[in-house]
Amino acid sequence: MKKLLSLALASAMVLSLAACGGGNPGGSAAGNPTGSGSAAGDKVVKIGVFEPQSGDNGSGGKQEILGMQYANQKTPTVEIGGETYTVELVYADNQSSNDKAPSAAQTLVAGGVSIVLGSYGSGVSIAASDTFGDAGVPAIGVTCTNPQVTAGNSHYFRICFLDPFQGTVLANFAKDKFSATKAYCLAKQGDDYSVGLCNYFMEAFGKDNCVYETFPEGTSDYSSYVTNAKNSGAQVFFAPVSTEAAALIIDQAATQSLGMPMLAGDTWDSNVITAAAKGKDVDVNVTTFYQEGGNPEFDAGIKEWINADATNLTNNNGNDEVAAVTVMGYDAYYVALEALKAAGSTKPADVMAVLGGVEFDGVSGHIAFDDVNGDAIRDVAYVKHCNTETGSWEFVAQQGV
């Protein structure tokens, strides 16, 4: 009896293998506006979306996807080699986890994508890099700022600035604006993004003037770290961590009256942070890729699109504030289209060959790749400050190194 049932279980699994394995291993996209329901005979080109939709960086990843979906909805087709192709976005959730990232990447590769966009968060991009490299599929990093993503390989490109640049900008900002001489830096253990950015910040700020601490994964009690910052005599609190942790840190900082400005990188440029800081006595400053209002036409369009759909609104954390990562996702989609056009083919190898030479005037500025690692040539970051009364971002300065 038991053997029979276990056999039945096993055969059910094998059946599902037949259904999934033979059919559509990448899975069709949930909530994809164009969908795979396009008319038969249409040529389809697949773009992989390698983003976290759950875990620590889930909300950031979802905002980045929104930009790609909006762009996909605006421009659902592309001319490749004289023929019109429908663009299909294929999604894989890397769960913000370095050990889940390679298999998520493999589902994209096996799904036959021509190019991959992502990810939000550097660690998952680094972990999945080899999978893309082995298969010869090019990838465009959207907001992964750690230098190691593109260093030493020819398939990973990126359209955002890098941490050595961002860290220096932040260190200079801390010195100039707040006349800080000592900084408290907080990173998450094993997180390439926060550890890397803290490291470059400290290099620019002066290592001896920094107190550096890390917290383990799954921490929710930040009270002692806030106490450490207060006791250390620092004048700025630098914590470029994920938005999940950031919301808790801001809450704790307000509770314990931290009494010093908080600084962070691009991850904090999210309405999760403004919501957490609203009505609290905290001074939050971030560097980012784009300032809302930089392109009013784009802003209006995407706000209307977000408000029109309840799912989109939820994915954007309940309001229509445009996050910089959404803009970057939008631009990344168009860079991918440009690459496909230039390649004149949907073969990943052809796309990879031309990707380095692609240029595009995006909403976040002009995008071009350098020859060394395929990094974006960018020399400007926007500094924003959180208005805790209205719960929204205010533009402070446009800053280079």
Binding site: Q53, S54, G55, G58, S59, K62, Q95, Q189, V211, Y212, E213, T214, F215, P216, G218, S220, D221, Y222, S223, S224, Y225, T227, N228, K230, N231, S232, T243, E244, A247, L248, D251, Q252, A254, T255, Q256, S257, A275
Partner: protein
């Protein structure tokens, strides 16, 4: 005096989180005392209580949401016992423990599915979330309330166990499962009551914990659950006062370790930071191993020969 000002905030956080661990630890220690089962799912019940509160408070006022949340958590604890542990009553202990791990896995994955893997903001409960100042250290009122509430609940619980029929039955069952059964005690009812009490305390604990650290994710229950279990072992498993004392000690030590670099530098013992904060979680487990090896019955545990 200066040192006192440096150390006090860590102590406050430690006492507060210790009280919250204590409320979870009682659930572990009572279940272990009766069933000899490490209920791995208990920490996840604590997390689910947090999520239930998040969803309830979105649709109803707090004075309704809080009792309903507690009721639902208690129901969950009851159902878990009936569905996952009762069928295995005669099975080897290892099977029951594996079942507990399976339930924990299921609850976490369910939470992942329902929340979409995103952080859920815990509602602000007025009064207990208000900021206050204790000896010059700003904190939330819940920090101050937690230890008192914990101790009050424990006193009620100890009274319940020592002076009521069901309490007597519990003591009998934990002393000798089979004899108690022979004496006509309805074992299943007693076990259910144990799970109900444990879940009730976990629900209260979750309210206090998440008011302090207002973010709920599917893995929120894991670490507090494990630490509470260590607290139960440290205090002597099966002993309620032991679990409470153990929880406070662990809560305080953990927070002191997070600040140990700063404290030692302030005292002048250390010149360079040692990054000791990395060990704030590991310390708890190192303590566990040491206790198990050198004093397996814990601080207040009864001396029995066949336990370890």
């Amino acid at each position: 005096m200066d040192l006192m000002n440096t150390v006090l905030p860590y102590l406050l956080s430690g006492i507060s989180v210790g009280g919250q661990y204590a409320l979870i630890a009682i659930g572990y220690t009572m279940v272990y005392g009766i069933l000899r089962l490490i209920n791995f799912a208990h920490g996840d019940v604590f997390m689910v209580a947090g999520l239930i509160m998040v969803y309830l408070s979105a649709s109803m006022p707090l004075y309704l949401a809080v009792p309903l949340m507690i009721a639902l958590t208690v129901l969950l604890g009851f159902l878990i016992e009936r569905a996952a542990y009762k069928p295995l009553r005669t099975a080897p202990r290892m099977s029951v423990m594996i079942s507990a791990i399976g339930v924990s896995y299921l609850l976490q994955n369910l939470a992942l599915y329902i929340t979409g893997g995103l952080n859920k903001n815990y509602p602000t409960i007025p009064w207990i979330s208000d900021p206050i100042t204790v000896f010059g250290s700003p904190t939330k009122r819940v920090t101050l309330i937690t230890p008192f509430l914990t101790v009050a609940l424990v006193i009620v619980l100890v009274w319940l166990i020592n002076h009521t029929r069901v309490g007597m039955a519990m003591r009998a069952v934990s002393r000798d499962f089979e004899t108690a059964q022979l004496m006509g005690i309805r074992i299943n009812n007693v076990i259910s009551v144990t799970f109900v009490i444990g879940s009730f305390l976990a629900a209260v604990g979750s309210m206090l914990y998440f008011s302090n650290y207002p973010g709920v994710v599917p893995t929120s229950g894991g670490m507090p659950g494990l630490k509470a279990f260590v607290a139960a072992v440290f205090g002597g498993i099966g002993s309620i006062p032991g679990a409470v004392v153990g929880a406070f000690i662990i809560g305080i030590c953990e927070n002191i370790i997070k600040g140990l670099d700063i404290i030692l530098q302030a005292v002048g013992v250390l010149k360079e930071p040692l990054e000791l904060a990395t060990f704030s979680d590991a310390f708890t487990f190192a303590l566990l191993i040491i206790v198990l090896v050198f004093k397996p019955t814990g601080l207040f545990g009864e001396k029995t020969t066949d336990k370890v």
